[in-house]
Symmetry: C2
Subunit: 330 residues, 2 copies
């Protein structure tokens, strides 16, 4: 028995879905569901391919209440730039949550991952950042630096944006792009400690293996979202920062303790608060969030299959009534 499968390319997806509050809301639903305990989210399937200087991750999650579930395959092949190809690509497959039939293939080359990662940053900012954020800062100058700031601006419409990166030219390019996109005052900083001291919201978006944000830079009324660490060995935030912050929140503890900032803090002997809260529990109110405007809070985002299911479902809904994509009878 054949059925219709919708196949949608990156270019078509970019025409249909972008980073907006609807995307943030659907990703927030995924975190809320994670808190409920009925989500089925197996450990990430991770395949290291040293012979090809590559790696492949597979993530998935089944979320009750969503009509479909996504399986996402993310290859990273780090010799590709020598061939003029991007290092990262991949696709998402959306299955019916009722029948397991393939509903759609999103040949997104990581675009939907970019969106759902940025949306998670907005969810963290919405529930953890101070109510008023005049100045936001981003450490890092890549695609996520831009998207995280756009996402944060949706929920905390800051007036000033500070950018720091190791490469001043890239930092300037990122600042220029964000100034054009957000219409706010954007400045490139020459010192990340100054960026942190002036900001109420800071997002770190780097692949750092040594902390780029020091514990001694923390100050009252600061929220930090660290979204760069997604594997063993990466570390953006000084382990001691997790010890001294008023609140640390994981996207998923089972992931952050292996892949995120929690791993580094535990390894450094700086974690002594027991089982951390998860973002979903803060959203539902099951775990305390920020208690005052003075609190220092840290969100540690490693990226969950639940976000993939959320964004894929969101895109599929948006595609209804659109003629984007190719339909295959399979």
């Amino acid at each position: 028995m054949t059925h219709d499968i919708k196949i949608v390319t990156e270019a078509e997806l970019r025409g249909v879905v972008g980073l907006d509050l609807d995307a943030v809301d659907v990703v927030e639903r995924a975190f809320t569901a994670l808190a409920g305990g009925d989500v089925v989210m197996p450990p990430i399937l991770s395949m290291d391919l040293p012979a090809a200087n590559g790696e492949v991750d597979v993530k998935t999650a089944y979320i009750p209440g969503f009509d479909g579930f996504a399986i996402k395959v993310s290859p990273g092949f780090f010799d590709n730039p020598k061939l003029g190809l991007p290092s990262l690509n991949g696709l998402m497959i959306l299955f019916s949550a009722k029948t397991g039939m393939v509903q759609a293939l999103f040949l997104d080359n990581g675009y939907l991952t970019d969106l759902r990662t940025a949306a998670a940053g907005a969810v963290a900012a919405r529930h953890l950042a101070p109510e008023v954020v005049d100045t936001a800062g981003v450490i890092g100058t890549g695609v996520q630096a831009r998207l995280q700031m756009k996402a944060a601006h949706l929920v905390r419409p800051f007036k000033t944006l500070l950018v720091w990166g190791r490469d001043a030219a890239k930092a300037q390019a990122c600042a220029d792009d964000l100034a054009a996109d957000l219409g706010v005052d954007v400045r490139v900083m020459d010192d990340p400690s100054k960026l942190v001291s002036l900001s109420q919201l800071v997002v770190t978006t780097t692949p750092a293996r040594e902390p780029v944000l020091k514990a001694e830079w923390l100050h009252k009324g600061l929220h930090i979202t660290a979204m760069g660490s997604d594997q063993d060995g990466k570390n953006e935030i000084d382990p001691r920062a997790l010890a001294v912050a008023d609140l640390y929140v994981a996207d998923r503890v089972s992931q952050t303790e292996l892949l995120g900032e929690l791993r580094s803090a535990k390894q450094a002997g700086q974690w002594m608060h027991g089982l951390p809260a998860e973002l979903g529990n803060v959203i539902t109110g099951d775990a305390p969030g920020r208690r005052s405007e003075d609190d220092i809070t840290i969100a540690d985002l490693t990226g969950t299959g639940a976000q993939d299911t959320a964004i894929a479902s969101h895109v599929f809904a948006m595609l209804k009534g659109s003629d984007a994509g190719t339909v295959i009878h399979a």
Copy 2:
């Protein structure tokens, strides 16, 4: 940067690739590679979905010497027949082993899995069955019962084929199909013990959770391939049979001890031979195979990601020069 991705449906695949010695040979190459130790084959990602009476497995393997690697997603949703839909479906994605770029999507609904599973049966028979097989028997009456016998006939051209199943009508239908396909004498048996006693090669193809083949039925010069067990709880072969056979061979020990007949034998305290041989090691000669025509041998096949990579690569090669499929620029 866009590139071409070939999308091929089950119907198109059926027109291009079938069960033949080329398919057997490419799957044998995968087993040989597994023995070499350079294959990267992560544990199966398995997601149980009790709320939907479903499950999803993801398998993959990177095999040096193959241009691509496959990721296979196999959903099983067991309420589907109530909706007039098949329980099993799924797809394979073929990636470049050099760049990680998606090369092809095979919307095969499990057809390629059927082929590579049958091909593995032929590989086991080729390397473990007695040189002369006059009579082959199959326990089970489904798709794999048919394909396993066709595969076995490619490497051991038996003259008589015996079929047993719990449902006599299904057994007769299976026998009729195989008689037409293979042009051999096919008989439905009313007693599986008689089937085993008359056969030199027996394949079990059932989802049994209690053994369908008893240890006391074993006789000199018998080879058994058990391919039905692929998860904890399934068990086709009397655990004691593994203890008394001259040789037990796993497709992959790390899988058969969790999902296959080895699991049941270990659980029953019937396994005391240490680390079992794997099929690849028998093929390469690193592990002893059948030592005489009198030996009793058992092959335990749970299905490996290496087979998926092999069959997907085989199909991709066969598609070159064919106009089957739809090309998407993504």
